[in-house]
Symmetry: C2
Subunit: 296 residues, 2 copies
């Protein structure tokens, strides 16, 4: 793997996920805490206005605005579209031979009980090596490969040649919790260690394979005739992210109390269970297959 010269730690991409923004603020006040030999770390609050207003976004989701066609389109000028172009100039530009940073770690939180999860959305070698290092140094970290409502190239971290989003939960939107803050900070320090060792050539040899939860599909809530949500995540599944669902297991419970079972033949693992931000996108959870994948 190639050495890195500059990386970025980004928080506040979703303004109501306070943890990342407050952690970046803390690190900005103590720049020594991110200084490591051999590379520079940029700290950036990506959507400061959304953080100030404590909303996910002002006009549209910033973390879906980095599609190359959209970045190049002068007609795209929502608040977040313009912000995306600005971030792209500053940390990229995307696809350039010599972008400003080599890697972006984008800090998120979730209302789902997902612990610390690295969301990988490409087969980029550096991102996978960094995620493997993170898991090797904290066995509670899980790896989830994203296949969601968007192409893999639309995320903030796609500005850089490599990167990923870190999801930490459970935590309500608009709240800081000491436990979630500490877990996020520890993960950031592991990632900095990784790059320091990578540059120094002292990285421990990692496993050739990684256990990942590989996205299969997204499930919507039960809906009534008007399209409104008519059921909730079943209590036996709520807070049980990464649980293996087998045919017949309770999945939803309607407002009237009727259980709707999981009806697929293949057992799959539920992830992003009851994440608040996904109500507007129309999904109640993601289903994934636990597999071992070779590192790219």
């Amino acid at each position: 793997v190639k050495k890195v010269k500059k990386i970025a730690i980004v928080g506040g991409t979703h303004g109501n996920e306070k943890t990342g923004a407050w952690l970046v603020r803390k690190l900005m006040k103590a720049p020594g805490s991110v200084q490591r030999k051999g590379f520079e770390t940029i700290l950036r609050i990506s959507n400061a206005k959304a953080v100030e207003k404590c909303v996910r976004y002002i006009e549209e989701d910033l973390n879906r605005r980095f599609n190359p066609a959209e970045l190049a389109d002068p007609g795209k000028n929502s608040y977040e579209a313009l912000l995306a172009k600005e971030l792209n100039e500053e940390l990229g530009p995307k696809g350039a031979e010599k972008p400003a940073v080599d890697f972006i770690l984008d800090l998120h939180t979730t209302t789902s009980n997902m612990g610390v999860t690295a969301i990988l959305d490409s087969r980029d070698e550096l991102a996978w090596q960094a995620a493997a290092y993170l898991q090797a140094h904290d066995p509670n970290v899980r790896i989830f490969t994203w296949k969601g409502d968007t192409g893999e190239s639309d995320f903030v971290h796609s500005i850089a040649p490599a990167g990923f989003a870190l999801e930490v939960g459970p935590i309500p939107q608009g709240v800081l919790r000491a436990d979630i803050f500490e877990k996020t900070e520890r993960a950031v320090q592991h990632i900095l260690d990784f790059f320091e060792k990578l540059n120094a050539g002292t990285l421990e040899k990692s496993d050739a394979e990684l256990e990942v939860y590989d996205s299969v599909t997204l499930l919507d809530f039960p809906r009534d005739e008007e399209g409104e949500i008519a059921g909730m995540v079943h209590p036996e599944l709520q807070d049980q992210d990464y649980k293996l669902l087998k045919k017949g297991d309770p999945l939803f419970i309607t407002l009237e109390g009727e259980t709707i079972p999981y009806d697929q033949e293949e057992p799959l693992h539920a992830v992003f269970v009851n994440e608040a931000a996904y109500y507007e996108k129309g999904f109640a959870m993601s289903l994934s297959r636990k597999v071992r994948k070779p590192l790219p």
Copy 2:
């Protein structure tokens, strides 16, 4: 206590507290579930637009808009100020000799681990009797007497001669949870039972006193020189609503990891610990005194 002719169950006063709105929708579809002998129950989603957008409010907090001076002021015309005037016409008018409803139960949720709490903000006899009945039939229900950022007459339920807000948690904003939904629904049914028995003259004799958490003061988060939040609720207090804080007990932890202890001489109970909606109001928790109060 006087008999009632009409009561209202209100949800969606804060649009991102989905539980109340979805419960009211469910009850609207099955009107038989709120039909009781001797009185009529009106079901109302108070801020449907905020529910649709899943925000606390469109322009300002609806649940602080029922001050008589503000209701009478034609210059007050924010989205929620106009909505308040409309609700006041429909369910009140406030202070009238014959208002449209005798009692309002307003359904809320909180990110704090408060279980089911009746928030009493007046010494109205009917509200206290109803809360006492609720607690007698569900010993987990707590009574909290409000002294907050507002006068007692600014709440939605103040339109009626009697009423209170029900807070149920913990639940993130923007989310439905089956456990919180079920607890809220059970409380609503107890309240309906109360009025049915009251009208029929079959109410069990209740205790002359009630254990209440009586508001003493509000505590803000630690702040840095720019006024930004510089510390979080201490892990030993997070999720421990109603805990008795004694001098020296851990209260906050700064972003740098330093513990800030509770420093008041009088031990007090922490309530509304780390409620998301109160960040913008500048308080981290409410402190209260556990007392026994005679029913009015």
